[in-house]
Symmetry: C2
Subunit: 396 residues, 2 copies
Amino acid sequence: MNHIDELKKMKLHLDISRGKPCKAQLDLSNKMLEVIHSRSPFLDDNNYDVRNYGELTGIPEAKKLMADILEVPAENVIVYGNSSLAIMFDQISRSYSKGVLGSTPWCKLPKVKWICLTPGYDRHFAILEYFDIEMIDVPLKEDGPDMERIEELVKDDSVKGIWCVPKYSNPTGITYSDEVVRRLARLKPSAKDFRIYYDNAYALHNIDDQDDKLLNIFEEAKKVNNEDILYMFTSTSKITFPGGGISALAASSSNLEEIKKQLSIQTIGFDKLNQLRHVRFFQNKNGIVEHMKKHQQILKEKFSIVYEYLDKVSDYVSYNKARGGYFVTIKVNHNADKIVDRCLKLGVKLTEAGATHPYHKDPTNSYIRLAPTYLSNDNLRLAMDVITTVIVEQSK
Amino acid sequence: MNHIDELKKMKLHLDISRGKPCKAQLDLSNKMLEVIHSRSPFLDDNNYDVRNYGELTGIPEAKKLMADILEVPAENVIVYGNSSLAIMFDQISRSYSKGVLGSTPWCKLPKVKWICLTPGYDRHFAILEYFDIEMIDVPLKEDGPDMERIEELVKDDSVKGIWCVPKYSNPTGITYSDEVVRRLARLKPSAKDFRIYYDNAYALHNIDDQDDKLLNIFEEAKKVNNEDILYMFTSTSKITFPGGGISALAASSSNLEEIKKQLSIQTIGFDKLNQLRHVRFFQNKNGIVEHMKKHQQILKEKFSIVYEYLDKVSDYVSYNKARGGYFVTIKVNHNADKIVDRCLKLGVKLTEAGATHPYHKDPTNSYIRLAPTYLSNDNLRLAMDVITTVIVEQSK
């Protein structure tokens, strides 16, 4: 019996498609559920009872905590609910309906375009597709976007934004170089309502002991009075609980003023009890950094397993060994769709081929994203066995 | 020294402007913060770990709980985060950007109109103003909207919706009659994308021992195959914590299918830990009903204080003794703005005059909303002393 037949016989049912933390990772934050309790003082630093309405932009301590993750002043931060994706959606939705700082609402324009670095994050692209925003595919390099290309593209005033995951990028795991960050911060697009959507989802998510240093884009933009170009996002989804974290936006004071005004129409406030829970659990950024070392211990092993298997088939596949983040992206030989299909038939669900590109169309049909965090180590070995066996099979 | 001067000397600083629960009410739910803890089984009825991503539409137990409040089947419910206002905003925002079940997006129409029952809820009106939707002011009667007027207005296909707070209405406290609910359920507007925004925020919020019975509009609409006309909303903001409750939307299966599809672009899911917290704390609707009796004990006294003072000045002011909800609305003699200003100068902040009407313009300048829940009983007496003294002063 050949190895494929052996794998078939196992009737596997494994999912390596999405960046979900595993149970051991979730358990790291269970104690957070006890730091506020029925005898808690529910007052925040403003002496405000967090159980009640109010404090639209978040409690001061939570602003400070999220600001420290993003390396910006607390006054430039709004703390939201559990989903940073929802913040990004909201920003685009509001730009579509109402414009940005006085610009024409995008729904009134004949055409709106956006720069999408690829491989990129499918949920970013899905928001643009929803709002009928034309996506321009620009390859992401090892040190970030090709800035020459970007600087050229933003001369077109229908180009209104760019998605960036600057550190441990989803899905390739690369971190932007200082040079790239500096040029992004200095970008002078034709469109005054152009924004860099800077999704710093993996700011503290090391896998290696080495921490990639990301230059502070907020400071860089300030130096050249260009801070209005930035919307920055982060969340604790992959720090505490994806189903019960907190998220944040950071922006310049003029951007923030507009956002607050709009937000006050939309809601009376976000879940401040959960904000307090996070603050009491971590105390400060250092508390998060220490906590992330525990995640790292768990993830390091999982990523090693992935590389151990990939290294054995390195003749057929290329990949970047991510030093952080949640994903490994492999590049195969123009048959990604077939490999994904074949793996699914063998009981291993991968992110669909094409998901890393706008409109789900990878013109090279070569990128596959692996999300190794969720499976147990044993199951991850099985999944990697299937994946690498299929890669070899399909390459012959 | 006359009484006004005595009140001045007290240098009061009291806020009776917003429907915020008082501390004793918030304390009723403190134990909810302990029902999930570090040793919890975090699995819901689907055997899904609520700490992780997933279950976009909410955990099954939470759907059941919220469905029971709204008196609809659980399969017609989506459970959201802590703000039902945010759900309503989203519905209008999506209709504006994308239309409703295939209709033209409202942003592409020359004019969109909406029926606003007055006195009504300022935050409802603010959403419409934000989206430039023209508000048509229709007086709310003791048994709900003037249905003849509504049936006439919906012949105009630019009229796309109506706000309803059907039980213990904000701010007059009235409940819609069976006749009104039946006619609403049978409404046949010209616009296929017309929706009744049915904000049942006070479904279980009795002040009197008597519970107003609200006819089930979902059932009524179903009888005549008209259930697509309804979007229903509720939340636990005034059951557990305004800053940490859960909210829900109910709608027909076709509406829900569209909403889910759009929602999947917007977020990966809402805070399921908080959903589980609510479910474990209450167990079922009966748990909530029992809990609401404790709220009632606290609120009963506060509302009695309001009526005790108002009854003394009944020559100058008319009002409805609400059997539930959060507000008492008084009608004065065309000088509401002056009364509100004068009270503010004496240290008592009321909801602004005009807030009960579209564009903050009460053409009769006579409605003032009182929100008696937040203040301590002693402070409420002081506030009512100021308010009634000013009413008499300004009526002479």
